[in-house]
Symmetry: D2
Subunit: 139 residues, 4 copies
């Protein structure tokens, strides 16, 4: 049973735009990369930022996207963002984009924590790792 | 006094995205063109579509944008869209983008009604003209 | 030895834009999705279009992107597009984006041939399959 | 007569992308804002950067765009950028986008020189003003 105070995924909502459409009248595939990014940025801001100093940043190392259905306009895309793996200096996001309850695309991505001063991967600070472990445990 | 059932401007809300930011950390200027377009498309869908057959389309002939303040992320942009002029085959939109009550940009644009079959400007059908006149009268 | 008349990959060049940059001054990750798309569209236009009637279209079913280095502005991105697999109704693209000789990202994607009238996957016409086989054989 | 060593406008070429297209198969209007920006950034980099320290930046205060013809894909957009006015702390750009010799859009914009430390408009340094005067004189 899902505890509403501890959801499995963090939810981010993003308004779709007319300019997201391609000549076939569907959401362009690069828009999904933007929507998944919106979800990851939201996760970092709401869940991790308080456990990290401004000396840290994130870099996307890899992303896999499966396109499941054509996205239409107008609408409010719903991005579900969960944690699927915690590494020494990285984490895997597991994400979905849905529109009116229909899954449009799913993504798995690898993000690396960066020490912005050294421009090098950094091990997770203990507080940040605790937050990630909590989210990982909900799945 | 404003009649809440007949607002002066139609309101459209659009979630800002991390990808809207430029290297200075502000909303890129082209994003405003996209936000104003979102407001115009919303106006056409909600106010004009029922008075027009699918044989009609719109083309943007001209836009003037005044940038008033730097836009930040995250946030929900609010686009206010009103009618400033009605021509024989065109109309002028008068628009504003605000973020948390602060005006970021204002735009005036000329849109032309198009007969999609003839690919030529078309005079307003009477019903559509009546809708536009009502909006123009609120200002 | 590479035969210059039969290169291993089709080359597409795309000018980078200031608006491609994110707040860190690097190419935004969604821009790579757009660049890889530019390469695939170019491949289809130059290599496959003459072997396909307008009744066919393509849909991207899956993409994996590995980000290898940060992309800077200004510059001309070079997209290398090759064929890695031919299915009954699909193909895999194998792609790279380089900038001044440096690899920025690599992608593997699955594209499905679509019968636009039936909105369903379609087996490759013989001429199109022959083109794809030729490209696959160069690797 | 135009002196080829002193052209009237600075030329910037930008590859169009499939993702620039809207559902009608034309270049989306916001893409023009991006192309005009590409021309202005190119002008600043090639003509003004050496006359300005990194303490200076630019902010776009206003833009007017006239859309003259529908833009198609694929193609290489050509942006022509000239100087139409020099103010105490600002300048007006006069620009055009053409595709295969056909004018698609024209823009007039106001850019303000910014002292990035003070976050306030700054009078033109003498060297920068001399460059702008030279370009203004060519028109």
């Amino acid at each position: 049973m899902t505890d509403p105070a501890h959801p499995v995924d963090l939810i981010t909502e993003v308004t779709l735009r007319y300019s997201d459409l391609d000549p076939l009248g569907h959401l362009n595939n690069a828009v999904y990369a933007t929507l998944f990014e919106a979800g990851r940025v939201d996760f970092v801001e709401r869940e991790l930022a308080s456990a990290l100093t401004p000396a840290f940043g994130f870099v996307l190392a890899r992303i896999e996207i499966d396109f499941r259905a054509e996205g239409h306009f107008p609408g409010m895309a719903r991005i579900e963002t969960g944690i699927a793996r915690i590494g020494r200096t990285s984490m895997d996001f597991d994400q979905k984009v849905t529109l009116e309850g229909r899954e449009l695309a799913a993504a798995r991505s690898v993000c690396v924590l960066l020490d912005l001063r050294l421009r090098a991967p950094a091990p997770w600070p203990e507080d940040a790792r605790a937050v990630l472990k909590d989210w990982l445990g909900r799945r």
